[in-house]
Point group: D2
Chain length 347, copies 4
Amino acid sequence: MYSFKNDYSEGAHPRILNALIESNLVQDEGYGEDKYSQEAIDLLKQKLGRTDIDIHFLTGGTQTNLTSISAFLRPIDAAIAAHTGHIFVHETGAIEATGHKVITCDARVDGKLTPKKIKGVLDSHPDEHMVKPKLVYISNTTEIGSIYKKRELEDLSKFCKENQLILYLDGARLGSALCSEENDLKLSDLPDLVDAFYIGGTKNGALLGEALVICKESLKEDFRFHMKQKGALLAKGRLIGIQFLELFRDNLYFELADHANKMASKLSDGIRQANLTFLTHSPSNQIFPILPNALVNELQKDYLFYNWEKVDAENSAVRLVTSWATREEEVMRFVERILRFCQTESR
Amino acid sequence: MYSFKNDYSEGAHPRILNALIESNLVQDEGYGEDKYSQEAIDLLKQKLGRTDIDIHFLTGGTQTNLTSISAFLRPIDAAIAAHTGHIFVHETGAIEATGHKVITCDARVDGKLTPKKIKGVLDSHPDEHMVKPKLVYISNTTEIGSIYKKRELEDLSKFCKENQLILYLDGARLGSALCSEENDLKLSDLPDLVDAFYIGGTKNGALLGEALVICKESLKEDFRFHMKQKGALLAKGRLIGIQFLELFRDNLYFELADHANKMASKLSDGIRQANLTFLTHSPSNQIFPILPNALVNELQKDYLFYNWEKVDAENSAVRLVTSWATREEEVMRFVERILRFCQTESR
Amino acid sequence: MYSFKNDYSEGAHPRILNALIESNLVQDEGYGEDKYSQEAIDLLKQKLGRTDIDIHFLTGGTQTNLTSISAFLRPIDAAIAAHTGHIFVHETGAIEATGHKVITCDARVDGKLTPKKIKGVLDSHPDEHMVKPKLVYISNTTEIGSIYKKRELEDLSKFCKENQLILYLDGARLGSALCSEENDLKLSDLPDLVDAFYIGGTKNGALLGEALVICKESLKEDFRFHMKQKGALLAKGRLIGIQFLELFRDNLYFELADHANKMASKLSDGIRQANLTFLTHSPSNQIFPILPNALVNELQKDYLFYNWEKVDAENSAVRLVTSWATREEEVMRFVERILRFCQTESR
Amino acid sequence: MYSFKNDYSEGAHPRILNALIESNLVQDEGYGEDKYSQEAIDLLKQKLGRTDIDIHFLTGGTQTNLTSISAFLRPIDAAIAAHTGHIFVHETGAIEATGHKVITCDARVDGKLTPKKIKGVLDSHPDEHMVKPKLVYISNTTEIGSIYKKRELEDLSKFCKENQLILYLDGARLGSALCSEENDLKLSDLPDLVDAFYIGGTKNGALLGEALVICKESLKEDFRFHMKQKGALLAKGRLIGIQFLELFRDNLYFELADHANKMASKLSDGIRQANLTFLTHSPSNQIFPILPNALVNELQKDYLFYNWEKVDAENSAVRLVTSWATREEEVMRFVERILRFCQTESR
C-alpha cells in the first residue's frame, strides 16, 4: 500500500535527523532558550526581512492556533473563519475551549475569506448581546488546497486594519502555498500583510514544529507565558530550533515544498489526461479529483487516501496529498492505474 | 562550562535517534495511530501487568498534567497538591487556566502529601461556597527530590478511594524514583495504587514525550478528544511511540535512570565527605546541598546549576541535577573541586 | 409612546410586589435556603407531578443557560442549537466562554430542531478531531414565536435518549408556549420529555427569576456549587422564591401568559384584517408581521417595537411582543392605526 | 429565634419597596438602559465627584468579582488576595473558573494586604514558568470586619501604580466601612485610589444589587459585553437602578450602614462589659467575640449566628453580624443574656 493520505506519513527529511545527531550531546539551555533556537529565530528574521518581529516555536498547528488566538483575544472577542477553516472543523473545539466563539463565513467555492464576507459578520454583530468579531483566521494553503494571491491578502489586510481586526494566517502548509505555480507572494511579504502567522514545519519535512511569527507589536507581550500555560514550551525546545535551522539554513524548506507540489501537479496532469475533473481548483500539494466510485474502489486496493465527499450516485471526490517524501515512481504508477482504468472503461 | 542545571540539557539517547532513523521513511498513520505507538502501548501494558488500562503519548509534563486534570474534573472540582507541587508553582497557572483551583498543603519537610494533610483540606471545604477537592496530585520523585515509599502510596491510595478522590501521579522523574536505592515500588504496582500517572520520557533520555497511563475506567472515555482539544495530538505521533518502544524494548529506561541516580549519589557522597549538609533528603537524581557562598561562586566559574534558596548569610542551597547523559568524569571533577575548596578553607 | 418592544418593559405583577412587602421583615436563611424558596420548590414539584426532580432559582435566562450547560457537559462536549437559538445568537458567546462549541442547524422556517437535523450533526462529527455533540438546546416558545407540539417533543426526546444526548429546553417564554391556542403540551409533560428545562419568570410577570428543573438524575449532583461558581446564588435568594410561590400559588402564572397571548392574538387578527401577512407562524406572545415601510414609519411615531428584517424594498418584518402588562386599549388603538393606514393606502 | 447570622436575612428597606411600587407600571428600556439606572448612575457619579468613571449594576458580589476580574485580566494574569479574601475562600473557585489563579498573602492578624506583602508575591513570580500577578484584590470592610485607613489605601495605591498592578476593592460592605467610627475615608476618595470597586447594595438594604465603578480608563472598554457574557445583564435592569437611586437620593445608604455599625457597637460594648475579648479588631458591622462554649450553647437556644472557630478547649469565636434591619431591642436582650450568663458564672 502506498499512501497519499496526508503529508505527515513519514518521519523527517534526513538532513534534519543528521542535524539532531550532530548536536545531540551538546549541553544547552532548556525551554527554547538554547542557541539553536536563537539562531533559527535570527535566520528566520533575516529571511522575513524584519527584526521587529517575535518568533516562537511550537509543536503543532492546533497548539499554535489555540495558544495564539487565546493570547490575542479578550474573553468577549471571537474569531472569524471560513466554514471550512481548520479551527472551526478539525480542532475539537480548541478555540471555544479557551472561551472564544468561532464565527463562520460560507466559503464553499474556494475556502477563502474576503472583505465582503467579513463585513457581513461585522454588520450582524452590532451590540453587547453578541460577541465582538476581532480576529480573522485564514489558512494558506486553505483546507481545500487553494491559495491566496497577493492582491487578495492585501485587500484583507487593508480591511482588517480599517476595522481593528487582527489578521492571523495559519501556515501549516505555507511552504506549499509559496511554492505553488500560481503564487505571487513572497515569505517576506507576510509580516507587512498579517498580524501573526506560522510557518508550518510538521507538514513540510520536520518531525514536528511550527514557527509562529508575531508581527504586531501589541500581540507580542509575554507570549512565552501563554506558551507555558498551554503546555507548549518544550523542555528540550532545541528539538524544534535545530529543525528550523536546518530547513532555512539554505533553501531546503522551499525545495521540499516544491517537490510536494510537483508531485501533486503530476497527479493532476494524469487525472486531467484521463478526462476527470476536480472538486476545487488547488494548485498546491492537496488535490481533490472526482473519480468514478469503481475507480475509487480499484485504487483503494493499493493506495491510501481520504474519501472527501460523495458528488453524485456514481462519483466521489477524494483527497490526494503529496509531500516532501512522496516518491515520483509511485505517482507515476498511480497515474497509470487511473489511465488504464479509464481506457478500459471507455472501451 | 559543564551543566548540572537539569536533566534536559542534551538531546536523546543514541539508541532513540537510531530508532528514528531506521523507521524514518516507513509510511504510517498519523495522530498516534501508527504501529510504533501501538506496539509501545502494548509493551508498556505488559510491563505494567495490566491490559485494562489506557495509554496515551503526550509531549511534555505541563501538557500531560493540564490535559488529564481538566479531562478528569468537573468545573467545580479542584486539585490538591503540595505547596511545592509543579502544577501549583511552575506551570504558569495551567490548571487554573482550564478552570480549576489548586488547593495546597504545606509540604515543607519532604514535598509529600499524606492522608492527614488531605483530610485537612476536605474538612475545610464543607459546602457549595467552596470548590470540591476532587483530585490529589502527587509527584514521584517529588519536586525536591524525595520519593514515595510503597507504604505511603498505599495509604494515600486507600484514603483517596474512601473519599472518592482521584489519585494522580506526576511521573516526570518516575524513572529516577523507581531506581532510587531507597525505592520499594515496582512500576507494575502503580496501576493498582493510582488512578492515573505518567511515565516521564523527556527527563529520562527521550527527545520529548510522556506516557500517560489511565487506570480508572471512568477516566478513560474519549481521552483522545481531550488531547486533540488541548493541542496534544502530534500529527507525527509516531515520534513519541518510537521513543517509548526503544526505551522499554529492554531495560534501557531503567538503565538511564539508574545512571542518573548513581551520578547524583556520587555527588552526594563527595559533598558529604566535605562535611557539607543538604536541604532535603533526596535519594534521586536531584540533590540540594547547602554550600558556603564562596564555594558557590567558585563552582559557578565552571559549572551551571540553580541557586535554590538562601539558607543563612553565608550559605545557600543549590540544586544539582544529573541525567542519563551526565559524564562520570565531570562528576568526579566537580567533587574534587568541592573537596579542594573545603580543605583550603579548613586550614 | 407605547412599547411592544419586549415582555420586560414593566416591573412585576402587583401580587408579586405585595408578596415581597408582606414577607419583607421576616428573617430567613440566605442563598436560597429560606422557607419561601423551599415552599416554591415543593409547589412546583406538585404542579410538575414529580418529586424526583431538582429545582433551582436563577436570575435570568443567559445565566441559567450558561450555568446548566457548562455543568452538564465535559470539556469536549458541544451543544446543538437552531441557528436562531438564543445561546448561539444573543448571549455574547456565554456558552463558548465556558468552553463549549455551539453547533447550529438551519431552522429558517420555524426556529425548531428535529431528529433529522440533529442526526445530520452527529453524522458529521465522527471522530476526535471534532467536538462531541452532546446536548440539544431547544426553546419553547422559539426565538421566532413558534411552539413545539407534544409529538415533536416526543420525537426529539426519543431520538436524544437513543443517542445519549441531553435534551435541554429554554423556557424563557414557556408560559406563552403552554397557553398558546395551538399548544397540546402540559407543564407536567415536560419532566418526562426533557432532561432539564427552565420555567421563565422574568418574561412572565416576575421582577427577575427563572426556575431551573433538572429531571435527569445524573445532572443533579452538586448543582448549587455550579450556581455559586457562576455568581448565580443570590444572597437574598428568597427574592426569587417568593415570586415563584406567588406565581404558582394558584393559576397566576398561566393567567399572565394567557393575557399576553390574547393581546398578541388581537394584534394578529387586526393585522390579518388589514390583509397583511407574517414572516413566521407564531401562535404566542411574539408576532412578526410584514408591514409596508411607510406604515412602519407611521407607527414608530407612537409605538416602540423592533425592526426585525427587511423583506423587500417596500416591506419590513417587525417584531411585536405583548406581555402580562400589555393594555388592551393600546392593542386596539394600534390595530386601528394599522387599519386606518391600510384603508387610506388602498384608496 | 433572632438572627445575627448575616446582613441579608431580611428583604429590603421599605423605601426601596416603595420605589419599586411607584415605578412598577412605567414602561422602560431593558438591560439597564432604562432611565432609573441612568439617573442612579448620574447620581453616583455626583457623589463620587467624577464624571470620567463608568458605573454598572450587577446582582451580587461573586458575580461582580468574577465579571470584573475576568474582564480586566489576560489569560496569564493572576489576582493577589489576602488568604481570607472572599474570592479565594468563598466563591467556589469562581475566579479560577474564568482561568485565573488567585495568589494569597497571609493576613491572619487583620485580613489586610500591604505593599510589603504584595512585593513578596512579585518577587517570587519572576518568569514565564509562573503566572503574572496583575490585580490586587482587597475588601473594605475585610472579611473579618477590619477596615482600611486612608493612609493604608494610599500606600497600596501608590505601590500598585508603580508596579502596573490593578487595584480592585470589593465593597460588599463598603457602607459599613465608610460609616465606621474609625474610618477616615470618603466615598469620593475611592476613584482616585483604586482602579475599580463596587458599592454593595445587597448587604446594605437592597433586595439585590452592587454598583461597580470602573475608574481606570483602560478597564472600561466593552464592559457590558462582559456582563452579558457572564449572565450579569438583567432584562429588567431597572430593578437595581431603582434601588440605588433610592439609596443615594439622600443619605439613606449611609444611614442604613450607620445603624448596622451602631448595633454592632452596642453588641461589642456589652460583650466587653462582660470581660470577654475578641478574635479581631473589627470596628464595623461584623464582630468576632470569643465566648465560653457554655455561653455559645446558651445563646444558640434563641439566636442564630456562625461559630467562626475554636479558640481553645473551652472557648470559641463566633461571628455576629448586624444590618440596617437589626432591631435595637434584640441587641439589648442579647447583651443582657451575655451579662447575666457571665455574672452567674463568676459567682
